[in-house]
């Protein structure tokens, strides 16, 4: 069954993928620490975008409150580590379970009460904001003052406790992004994937074919939430400080989906491609404009750029950059629902 894993991807595509992987594996040894940090950002967005894409692109449910799961994962694992010395990997499992349950709850509420589209998106925002303000008042994890993880010296890499230098985190993110891509690929070739796409396309028709759409939609939300939470954990251990505002905010929720939207919602490679395009461009823009630091206040320029990208994508290439690119490169037949 897994032998057909990549068999319907043209050999050119397999080659490109292998080349990309090789480059990424070797990168830390050749690039500067700044470029490494940018690459970490790229992989971070690729991972989170892919996780979000499962819910939106595959099951067709718009969530603008994914920061909720990100934050729940981050705080759960951080608290378990700082207060009880539990390894972040176990913390990750705990965070993922918590987020999956919360996601199932929100999804169930939304789907049971037939709340679709925009209203559901607003529901997700409401839950995220609610939690943000809640965490502002939970002093056990710092509240507004912030939660700080004990930082050890960066002499040795401790993967078990996720303490280490950026290179270690780089490989963790790479494994994550690669892993999530592989997972999605596998899912799309399975019954679950087919059913998700069917639900996305036409839920009523899907039901007439024997698909219990409620169950499968919940499954998508739970998986998406759990994966996002894991991302939050790595983030927490990389930055070592947590504040409710930047972690649970709507801005973060939107950040997470920018890559997926730019690359192509509902496609397999879209979120990855999107992250690889958007992040370096954003960073490059900041660098290019540095000489003008005196005249313009630069704090907002990256956001303006990202916003503009989304506007351009929606207006000119609403299916995202990847489908267009893939066709040009001959990597896709006409129907690419599963690439």
């Amino acid at each position: 069954m897994t032998s057909t894993w990549l068999s319907d991807v043209p050999s050119r595509g397999r080659l490109l993928l292998a080349a990309l992987l090789a480059v990424l594996l070797a990168a830390p040894f050749v690039v500067s620490s700044y470029v490494l940090s940018v690459l970490i950002l790229v992989l971070y967005f690729a991972y989170l975008g892919q996780a979000w894409n499962i819910m939106m692109g595959f099951a067709g449910q718009l969530s603008l409150g994914h920061a909720l799961y990100f934050g729940l994962g981050a705080y759960t694992a951080a608290a378990l580590y700082a207060k009880f010395g539990v390894t972040p990997w176990a913390g990750m499992a705990a965070g993922a379970i918590v987020s999956a349950i919360v996601g199932a709850f929100i999804g169930a509420l939304g789907f049971r009460f037939r709340i679709g589209g925009v209203y559901f998106a607003l529901l997700t925002i409401a839950f995220a904001e609610f939690t943000r303000i809640l965490f502002d008042h939970i002093d056990w994890v710092g509240g507004t003052a912030g939660f700080f993880l004990p930082v050890s010296n960066r002499d040795s890499n401790d993967l078990w406790n996720l303490r280490g230098d950026p290179t270690m985190f780089y490989y963790v993110w790479l494994a994550g992004a690669g892993g999530v891509l592989a997972l999605c690929r596998m899912l799309l070739s399975s019954r679950l994937g087919y059913y998700w796409l069917a639900i996305r396309e036409d839920e009523v028709a899907a039901q007439a074919l024997g698909i219990d759409t409620f169950r499968y939609k919940i499954a998508a939300v739970m998986l998406s939430a759990a994966l996002t939470a894991c991302g939050g954990v790595v983030y927490a251990f990389y930055y070592n400080t947590l504040f409710p505002e930047p972690i649970f905010s709507v801005a973060r929720s939107i950040d997470m989906l920018l890559g997926a939207v730019t690359g192509g919602v509902g496609t397999l490679m879209g979120p990855i491609v999107g992250a690889f395009i958007l992040t370096p461009l954003g960073e490059g823009l900041t660098i290019a404009l540095e000489p003008f630091q005196e005249v313009l206040r630069l704090d907002g320029i990256k956001q303006v750029f990202y916003g503009l990208c989304v506007v351009l994508i929606v207006v000119f290439q609403r299916h995202g950059v990847w489908p267009y690119l893939a066709r040009k490169l001959g990597l896709r037949q006409l129907t690419g629902a599963r690439t």
């Binding site: 019954r191 069917a198 396309e201 036409d202 007439a208 006409l334």
Partner: protein
């Protein structure tokens, strides 16, 4: 033995009695047509059988099972598949993938599903278009795809909602031949809503006529077209 049995089934939508104490039986292995003017309650009846809406009164049985209160996906699991009056293909998926979704109802394995899908697509002469995006198909092809997809679930009863609408006479004849074939070879019971009389006369062994939510006649096709009550509801009192 009857495959499908409706007894005194009623459905009201606020001010309108859409289905009014309708009773009929569809014998196993038969092809039965449900006809009537627009607004007679035919599609509502289908929706009641398929579990899309719940009937207010009466009983619907399939084989020895009551269908009351089942959700659409459970009705499908019971062995009933349906097509929609306005076709609902999975637009962004390929023709093959559409049918595979249907076949996955019978097996979890995507390979087995693809094999089953191939067989159905070949039967319906869609195999050559298997990689095309469903949304890009012509209407007759989309209708065939809808039927193919429904057949993927290996139903015992197939509900066809105006599947001939918009087809040219040759295409209609092809579809008729196809339905006769699957009825004969696979033993699929068929209940079809139709306006295209050509198809009704060629296919149906038994015809049920609805008007204003009530059953006004039933019988063999050649008897029905001469029935005064039926003529009246289509042509008006004066014409009869």
């Amino acid at each position: 033995m009857s495959a499908l049995r409706l007894r005194d089934v009623s459905k009201r939508f606020r001010g309108l009695q859409a289905v009014d104490r309708v009773s009929f039986e569809v014998p196993a292995g038969a092809i039965v047509a449900l006809i009537g003017p627009n607004g007679a309650g035919k599609t509502t009846t289908f929706n009641l059988i398929a579990g899309v809406t719940r009937h207010d009164a009466g009983e619907i049985r399939f084989g020895d099972r009551p269908l009351d209160g089942l959700k659409p996906h459970q009705v499908c699991a019971a062995g009933i598949a349906r097509t929609f009056q306005i076709v609902r293909p999975f637009g962004e998926l390929s023709v093959e993938e559409n049918v595979v979704v249907g076949c996955l109802h019978v097996t979890r394995d995507t390979h087995a599903a693809r094999t089953a899908a191939r067989e159905i697509l070949e039967r319906l002469d869609l195999w050559s278009k298997r990689s095309q995006r469903a949304a890009s198909l012509t209407l007759p092809d989309r209708k065939r795809l809808e039927v193919a997809r429904a057949l993927g679930t290996r139903p015992r009863l197939l509900l066809l909602d105006e599947v001939m609408a918009g087809l040219r006479p040759t295409e209609t004849d092809q579809m008729v031949a196809f339905f006769r074939e699957i009825n004969r070879d696979l033993g699929v019971t068929i209940l079809l809503i139709e306006h295209v009389m050509r198809a009704v006369m060629a296919l149906a062994q038994h015809v049920i006529v609805l008007n204003y939510g009530k059953k006004i006649a039933e019988g063999r096709p050649d008897a029905i077209v001469r029935d005064p009550a039926v003529l009246e509801c289509y042509l008006g009192e004066e014409a009869v």
